[in-house]
């Protein structure tokens, strides 16, 4: 009974045929283009997870938090926190399938590209998978806070490492400050650094990269657990 809500909420939330059509069109374009343009795969790896996470995960969390939806769900004998995790889990399932369709198509085209060695294929696959996970977590956390502008705030957080490097180049930040800020930001450097390492483009991995690859998802899950507890205990219905 508990998981039935996931299926029904997902089925009735939006017109999946439109999004499915767009995803298939992008997948066809990706498989076609990456056969000749290997660089296109980098763009697909970077942008596709962010856009799909915002559309699927951000939109779903916002939808579920609408009073009419929430009150309907919570009349059933389920815990509010458990329901939030289940619904987010369902959203993640759909999100990962859609990402896999596009990234899989890009990798398929890349595999047929004679100029691309196998090891680079592996690097793109690992980078894509890690980046999809990170983007999904960033958007999930932002959606648990924001009532609007989830896309803008998520992209702002995703781009924050770039801003940090700009700040760093203008005024050298002390190491502890820099380290702390880095761990609060999405692990772009670590993910793409790992990809470069796997492809053999760099001889070794920065020592903080593995820690950041593990630490950032844990940070996001911790924030989500806290936010879901707050949402579950909040007064969801306005005053008369």
């Amino acid at each position: 009974m508990k998981w039935r809500s996931v299926r029904i909420v997902l089925a009735t939330w939006r017109d999946w045929r439109t999004l499915g059509g767009v995803v298939i069109a992008i997948a066809v374009a990706a498989v076609t283009v990456t056969r000749s343009q290997a660089n296109f795969s980098s763009a697909a790896v970077f942008y596709v997870p962010v856009l799909l996470a915002t559309t699927v995960l951000g939109g779903l969390v916002q939808h579920v938090r609408r009073a009419a939806i929430w009150r309907t769900l919570l009349q059933r004998p389920v815990s509010a926190e458990g329901e939030l995790w289940r619904l987010l889990g369902g959203g993640w399932g759909v999100y990962l399938v859609l990402v896999a369709v596009i990234l899989g198509a890009a990798l398929l085209g890349l595999a047929e590209n004679a100029a691309v060695p196998r090891v680079r294929l592996l690097a793109v696959a690992v980078t894509g998978a890690l980046w999809a996970g990170t983007s999904g977590l960033v958007v999930s956390v932002v959606a648990s806070f924001a009532s609007g502008s989830v896309a803008a705030l998520s992209i702002g957080w995703i781009l924050s490492p770039v801003l940090l490097s700009l700040v760093d180049s203008a005024a050298q930040l002390p190491d502890p400050v820099h380290g702390t800020l880095t761990f609060l930001m999405p692990s772009i450097d670590a993910i793409f650094g790992l990809g470069s390492y796997l492809a053999g483009d760099v001889p070794s991995l920065d020592p903080w990269h593995p820690a950041h690859l593990i630490g950032f998802p844990l940070l996001c899950l911790g924030i989500l657990a806290w936010r879901f507890r707050v949402i579950a205990r909040s007064e969801r219905v306005g005053s008369e």
Binding site: Q75, P77, R236, E240
Partner: protein
């Protein structure tokens, strides 16, 4: 005013709820017995809906407590489930059909008990239509069906009759009586005094965050009922 029924299934003691400087609910005590239908009538903004949300655990009191079957509203809701028709009638489920919502609640909306509720409330012909295409009254009937179809032991209907035609209101009365007969405790909030008087065991007049008067409406005529209501509300 302390309004009691015995044995109490729902027990509220000293409930206070404030929104900023506004005290929406002021030291309310209320008991609802097993199988009892309690009606609350009061002016707009008197705090009725806030009281309903406090009883369901959808709002937290600044003072006082609520126990349902000896448990907190949250524990009761998570363990047993509740029925609730909110006053605002916001849809949110535009793309769903009422049948899908009943499946969400019950799994199989075609079980005889669920069909009986849907037939009784007049929701059966609406089950396969999109929620976004339903009229206000039709959507209200579906909300009532959703709240009642699992026969929860505590049901709060906040103006369920808004937008209902007279025949639908009569069906609503029949259905609430059916559920109360099965042991559900029902709180009904409405502005329709005459209709409520026909279907509740106790009628409470609520004003400025307080229960002002409690009457047994059986045998009370419409004119006397209105006089009682106005004198209670104006005394606030």
């Amino acid at each position: 005013m302390h309004v009691t029924a015995s044995p109490a299934f729902v027990e509220a003691r000293g409930l206070v709820k404030r929104y900023g400087v506004l005290e929406a609910v002021r030291a309310v005590d209320l008991d609802i017995a097993v199988g009892e239908i309690v009606g609350i009538a009061g002016p707009n903004g008197s705090g009725k809906s806030t009281l309903a949300r406090l009883l369901l655990g959808f709002a937290r009191p600044h003072a006082g407590s609520v126990r349902i079957d000896g448990r907190s509203p949250e524990e009761f809701r998570v363990q047993d489930g509740i029925g609730y028709v909110p006053e605002d009638g916001e849809r949110g489920w535009e793309r769903a059909t009422p049948r899908q919502l009943l499946m969400l609640r019950l799994g199989d909306p075609d079980v005889p008990s669920a069909r009986a509720i849907c037939d009784s409330i007049g929701a059966t012909p609406l089950l396969d239509k999109r929620v976004g295409t339903l009229s206000k009254g039709q959507w209200r009937a579906c909300l009532v069906a959703y709240a009642m179809v699992a026969a929860p032991r505590f049901i709060v209907l906040d103006e369920p009759d808004a937008g209902l035609d007279p025949a639908a209101m009569e069906r609503l009365r029949t259905t609430t009586a059916l559920l109360a007969g099965g042991g559900s405790s029902i709180l009904l909030l409405s502005h329709h005094l005459d209709e409520m008087a026909l279907g509740v065991h106790r009628l409470l007049f609520f004003s400025a965050g307080r229960i002002r008067r409690s009457i047994d409406p059986r045998g009370v005529g419409p004119t006397e009922l209105r006089r009682e209501y106005h004198s209670a509300v104006q005394a606030a």
